[in-house]
């Protein structure tokens, strides 16, 4: 049985429509017009226990709204969500003790106290036993290399260090389901990698089900085999990350390094679309099915030092997915 079941989930916000400028603001006092915003529009998916799924979409696609509905912060306008058999919006304590939501930009640590005090407070709020607390705390602080920072005031920690404690605070009660909303936002490359590796390892060891949103494709690529892509509140893709590339990218990139100087663009364009062309190197975009023929042709025709065939970078593919659903909308 899936641990997360989402069926036709919708959230419609009613917001006040404002006319522009000061005049509009004044008029707004007398007559109000409302518009409906479909933040999430009939989304369905299922997640099995232990899966680590990436939840993708451009800003305003409805990712955070969906996570909020799954966490019980928002009631759905229509459709149903079930997590571990619970209806999130009922906000039962039994449910709240078994999941965690980590938002990259909002923190739960007490600013003026050492992190250990906030962690202890969370232990008590979730009713974690002393023994389990010590065990989880030891393990996590070790893994994330923040043991020596436990006694330092949170306000004096770096953003990356705070994020690590944020994660620890959310994992003390060993949630079965973890929602991560942009856990690496604003972090430097090293801190991003640390957090990423930790999440991957944690999922592998504990079989915790994780639903993750991130704007960094590095995060998604490193962590998620499966992705759910939404745009304008609707699901546009659900499947293996590799399949996104297959489905949405009909081309591959061929990078050629020349031995003795370059080739004219006209000669190159016979094999595909020329993206870059210098004396040393050229990059061509070639339809998937034509890659074999093109590379053979290039190798026999030009003085080639090296040839490299790659998938289009995932960022670009995802951009295409977003753009595709944009066009479909229009």
């Amino acid at each position: 049985m899936p641990i997360i079941e989402v069926e036709n989930l919708s959230k419609i916000y009613r917001t006040q429509k404002r006319l522009p400028g000061l005049g509009g603001a004044v008029m707004g006092l007398f007559s109000r017009e409302f518009t409906e915003v479909r933040a999430v529009d009939g989304v369905s998916f299922q997640i099995e226990e232990g899966e680590l799924v990436g939840f993708l979409g451009p800003n305003g696609a409805g990712k955070t709204t969906t996570l909020k509905m799954l966490s019980g912060i928002l009631y759905p306008t229509a459709g149903t969500a079930r997590v571990m058999g619970f209806i999130p919006s009922e906000r039962k304590n039994d449910y709240r003790r078994q999941f965690a939501l980590v938002m990259g930009q909002k923190n739960q640590l007490w600013w003026d106290l050492p992190a250990q005090e906030s962690l202890f407070l969370n232990k008590e709020i979730y009713g974690v036993s002393d023994g389990d607390y010590r065990q989880v705390l030891d393990e996590m602080t070790e893994l994330l290399q923040v043991k020596r920072l436990l006694g330092i005031m949170v306000r004096e920690l770096s953003l990356g260090e705070r994020m690590k404690f944020e994660l620890i605070a959310s994992l003390l009660h060993r949630p079965r389901v973890l929602f991560l909303d942009e856990p690496t936002i604003g972090l430097d490359v090293v801190a991003q990698r640390n957090i990423r590796e930790f999440i991957k390892d944690y999922n592998r060891r504990t079989k915790t089900t994780i639903l993750l949103t991130s704007h960094y494709m590095n995060d998604i690529q490193a962590l998620c085999e499966r992705v759910v892509v939404i745009n304008h509140g609707q699901k546009v893709f659900d499947g293996r990350l590799d399949d996104v590339v297959e489905k949405f990218s009909q081309t591959k990139l061929i990078t050629i390094t020349f031995k003795n100087g370059g080739v004219s663009p006209e000669q190159l364009s016979a094999f595909g679309k020329v993206l870059e062309n210098t004396k040393v190197k050229a990059v061509l975009e070639v339809p998937r099915e034509g890659v074999k023929g093109a590379s053979n042709g290039i190798l026999s025709r030009f003085d080639v030092d090296d040839i490299n065939i790659e998938e289009v970078p995932i960022e670009e593919v995802i951009e295409k997915v977003f753009a595709g659903s944009e066009e479909a909308k229009v």
Binding site: K68, D94, F99, L101, K106, Q108, L113, Y126, G127
Partner: protein
């Protein structure tokens, strides 16, 4: 499905977590103890002006041949009233509560509490109680010398019953103070910007609590309203109880009405919270 498969959850009193919230917040507040000391000493400065003002009033009355007391309050009583007001307000005023709650709601910070197995109301009560604990911890050192200096203004020796009623009235003062702030703060569920409104409400509360002028010297036509209003319990009633101005057979009645208000405010605040949360969950957070 219930309980945690990892067996990490242990049975403890459901109130234990609130105790830890209280102790954690007390620790955090203690970091600002210098600020508290400063506040606990300098808050008495306005009292000096008040003493001079009332001295002038009573002198003028004396010169004009008017009776030496105003509605049963002598000059000494008047000064004692303002001094005791510091104690009463030390219980009933919970600074920042309204604006913090409305900010939590407005900025969506409420989310981080909603996902946890605890009550936001319980959290707020403990958080504010911690503030009072630290305030009184400091005040225990700074208040006595000041009250000792003013001892000749305290002409009434309270009876045991008056002492008991006084302490009970302080509990009522804190309860009404926090419940009222909680209610007003939750208005942010319905109105986006309420800071001006908060200011007006706070001024009204301040006046109706008797902080500015003893309620019994205000116009007689207002007395029925003032004597039954919940706000008198935030200042006026504790003071006059300690001054022996409430006849002993009236003490229980006064406290009873106060408790009734606590009940009404509690019910209203919980109802508003539930309604507000429904709206919050419906329109966004």
């Amino acid at each position: 499905m219930s309980g945690n498969p990892a067996g990490a959850i242990q049975a403890k009193s459901p109130f234990h977590k609130y105790w830890v919230i209280l102790s954690t917040r007390t620790q955090e507040d203690m970091i600002y103890r210098a600020n508290y000391v400063f506040g606990a000493v300098f808050r008495f400065l306005p009292l000096v002006t008040t003493i001079f003002l009332w001295y002038a009033v009573y002198q003028a009355r004396k010169a004009g041949g008017a009776p030496s007391s105003i509605r049963g309050m002598s000059y000494e009583d008047m000064v004692a009233y303002y001094a005791f007001m510091y104690i009463a307000r030390g219980f009933s005023s919970v600074p920042g509560t309204m604006s913090d709650i409305s900010k939590d709601i407005k900025d969506g910070l409420l989310n981080r509490y909603l996902i946890k197995p605890m009550s936001y109301f319980g959290y707020q009560v403990m958080y504010r109680l911690a503030h009072k604990l630290v305030f009184w911890y400091i005040a225990l050192f700074t208040f006595p010398p000041i009250f000792l200096l003013m001892r000749h203004f305290f002409t009434h020796l309270p009876t045991l019953w008056e002492w008991l009623a006084f302490f009970a009235s302080l509990v009522i003062a804190f309860s009404i103070g926090i419940l009222f702030c909680f209610m007003i703060g939750t208005l942010a569920f319905w109105f986006l910007e309420i800071s001006t409104f908060l200011f007006v409400v706070m001024m009204l509360e301040f006046f109706m609590s008797g902080h500015l002028i003893p309620l019994n010297i205000l116009p007689a036509s207002l007395q029925p309203v003032l004597s039954l209003s919940p706000f008198g319990y935030e200042g006026y009633w504790p003071c006059v109880i300690l001054m022996g101005k409430v006849p002993q057979d009236q003490l229980l009645r006064v406290l009873g009405i106060g408790l009734l208000w606590v009940g009404v405010f509690f019910g209203a605040s919980q109802w508003m919270w539930r309604m507000g949360l429904k709206r919050y969950s419906a329109v966004g957070g």
